[in-house]
């Protein structure tokens, strides 16, 4: 890439690849602002001839979309809070305490992190029915911990292993108890890791489909994933621009995270996702 021409050519090539990859998402946004009739043009128009937000308005006023969104938000935040609190305590214990069985436990966490949901889903379904909490958001929170907790634990454990042991030792010598050292020193240091883990957990919960499909079949508790799909299935004729508008709305939290908190995502990846 020494010559200017070479640089330009490479940049053009790279950006073509990037845009082709991103095309489905660009197309989603474009479709969502086209009037319904424009979708049926042959050949299709690329830029909308006329930009309209009618689909978004309809989505909000004429469909249960907002209800699904509220469910998804409750589900996402509850799962994240429960999982991150439990996992932070657990990871701290796995990293800084010595007791029998600790290594086994860490291994088990990794094992469950790889476990397929379909193995657990049938017993969980029976469990929810038996407990009488099937068809509630709460049942989904419980189900989501099955994948979110091992994941968060593993991620946080990696982050916490990166905090030098000397910091806790210094706090102990300075007069802190183990719990005070955790609160005063470890937690502030783990904060970026906790933020990363929270974001990942939230995204996992936000995007989950299978458990929501099996455990919930009422609009009262249905999150966005199954809710939007039910809009597709129940519609007499598929209104693609409406669905695309729903897809855009559904991706909003991700877009926000990407725009403002991306460094936490990549950091989380480095810590736990790949290193294993």
């Amino acid at each position: 890439m020494k010559t200017l021409a070479g640089r330009i050519a490479f940049n053009l090539f790279a950006w073509t690849v990037v845009l082709v990859t991103a095309f489905p998402l660009i197309w989603m946004i474009l479709t969502s602002v086209k009037p319904q009739f424009e979708l049926f043009r042959i050949p299709p128009t690329f830029w909308p001839e006329q930009i309209t937000f009618e689909h978004y308005v309809r989505l909000i006023y004429e469909t249960p979309f907002l209800k699904y969104m509220r469910n998804s938000l409750i589900l996402g935040f509850t799962t994240t809070i429960v999982v991150v609190v439990v996992a932070t305590l657990g990871a701290h214990s796995l990293v800084r305490f010595r007791y029998p069985g600790r290594e086994r436990l860490a291994q088990m966490v990794l094992f469950t992190y790889l476990l397929p949901s379909v193995v657990l889903i049938l017993p969980l379904y029976l469990m929810m029915v038996w407990l009488g909490i099937a068809n509630t958001i709460f049942s989904l929170v419980i189900a989501y911990t099955t994948f979110a907790l091992p994941y968060a634990l593993w991620l946080l454990r990696s982050f916490m292993q990166g905090i030098p042991d000397d910091l806790e030792a210094a706090a102990l010598v300075d007069g802190a108890t183990r719990m005070e050292a955790f609160v005063d020193v470890i937690l502030p240091q783990a904060l970026p890791g906790i933020i990363s883990t929270s974001l990942f957990t939230f995204i996992l919960a936000w995007n989950e489909y299978l458990y929501a499909l099996v455990l919930v079949n009422t609009d009262e508790a249905r999150p966005l994933t199954t809710g939007v799909m039910s809009m597709l299935v129940s519609a007499f004729n598929i209104e693609w621009s409406l669905l695309m508008a729903a897809s855009v709305m559904m991706s909003l939290p991700l877009i926000i995270i990407f725009a403002f908190l991306q460094k936490y995502l990549t950091r989380g990846f480095g810590a736990g996702g790949v290193k294993g």
Binding site: A14, A22, L25, V118, L122, L149, L224, M244, S251
Partner: protein, 299 residues
């Protein structure tokens, strides 16, 4: 452990901190896992949840069931193909994004986005792209003269299998990109400069320096992705539902269908357990690798 009271107090505190995790694990993971094994020995009618013990009957049925073998074959085919594409595109894109291109961080975000977007969104968009009448895919291919008639992307074979493999590759290759990119950034520039001085060209620098440095991370990524692709449900279920007929039905889909379509939870559990047994080899391999890496990184 020594008999030091303080040491013991610390151990108790440590155990208390991990206790919520252990309790939740037992309730929502260990118990269901064991009971999945147990359920697979029954025949259970889903709507009433009544059943009777049939021992290994479900497994015997599966061994003789062409549908099971077909689903296993589909699972393997899908895993191998989509994984290969993910690795190839992932490594290529990572190498590309590692170069100094304009608006690199924006390019990176755009490439990563498919991985983070909900499968539901990905599937809706792709179904719209694949739409037989108004879909862009058909239109572009017609325009390019590659096809004469609009294709039925999801409803016929082998198109359906190819489509899910492609969408799978699109959705999950960013995982490879992030992993490889992170590793690329840790390769010291001095290595490349030394190779340049030794007269190595761009290609031999890639083969002799980059690839060996990437080997470890690629092994981990391949294993992880293999495990995750193997158990993929959402993407395939939402794109084709396993169809046409069972042409793209993988094992996770078969579990779902047996349990809630054919209303036999026992047999569904048997499929799930069989599937896990196949995965177990990958999982054990990964656990071993991860364990090794861990020991190496500790003093």
């Amino acid at each position: 452990m020594s008999g030091n009271p303080l040491d013991k107090r610390y151990a108790v505190l440590g155990a208390m901190l991990i206790a919520p995790t252990v309790l939740i694990f037992c309730a929502v993971i260990v118990y269901p896992l064991v009971s999945a094994l147990y359920l697979s020995l029954f025949t259970i009618f889903t709507p009433t949840l009544r059943g009777s013990f049939i021992g290994l009957g479900n497994y015997a049925y599966l061994v003789n069931s062409p549908e099971f073998w077909r689903s296993l074959w589909n699972t393997l085919l899908w895993t191998v193909c989509t994984l290969t594409l993910q690795i190839v595109f992932g490594v290529a894109a990572a190498l590309m994004l590692h170069q100094n291109i304009v608006f690199r961080s924006l390019a990176r975000s755009l490439i990563l986005f498919p991985y983070f977007v909900s499968t539901v969104v990905a599937v809706l968009v792709w179904r719209w792209l694949f739409n037989d009448l108004y879909g862009v895919m058909n239109h572009l291919m017609l325009m390019a003269g590659l096809i004469k008639m609009p294709l039925d992307w999801l409803g016929s074979m082998p198109n359906a299998m190819i489509s899910i493999i492609l969408v799978g590759a699109w959705k999950y290759f960013p995982f490879v990109v992030i992993a490889v990119l992170a590793r690329l950034q840790t390769i010291p520039d001095a290595l490349y400069e030394a190779a340049k001085i030794d007269g190595a060209g761009a290609w031999s620098r890639f083969v002799d320096i980059t690839l060996p440095q990437l080997r470890d991370v690629l092994v981990v990524v391949v294993l992880l992705r293999a495990i995750w692709d193997f158990k993929e449900f959402d993407l395939i279920y939402l794109l084709t539902g396993g169809g046409p007929i069972i042409a793209t039905q993988t094992l996770p889909l078969m579990v779902y269908k047996d349990a809630f379509g054919l209303n036999d939870m026992g047999r569904a559990s048997a499929v799930a357990v069989s599937m896990m047994l196949v995965m177990l080899s990958f999982m054990v391999l990964y656990l071993k690798l991860a364990g090794r890496g861990e020991r190496e990184s500790q003093p």
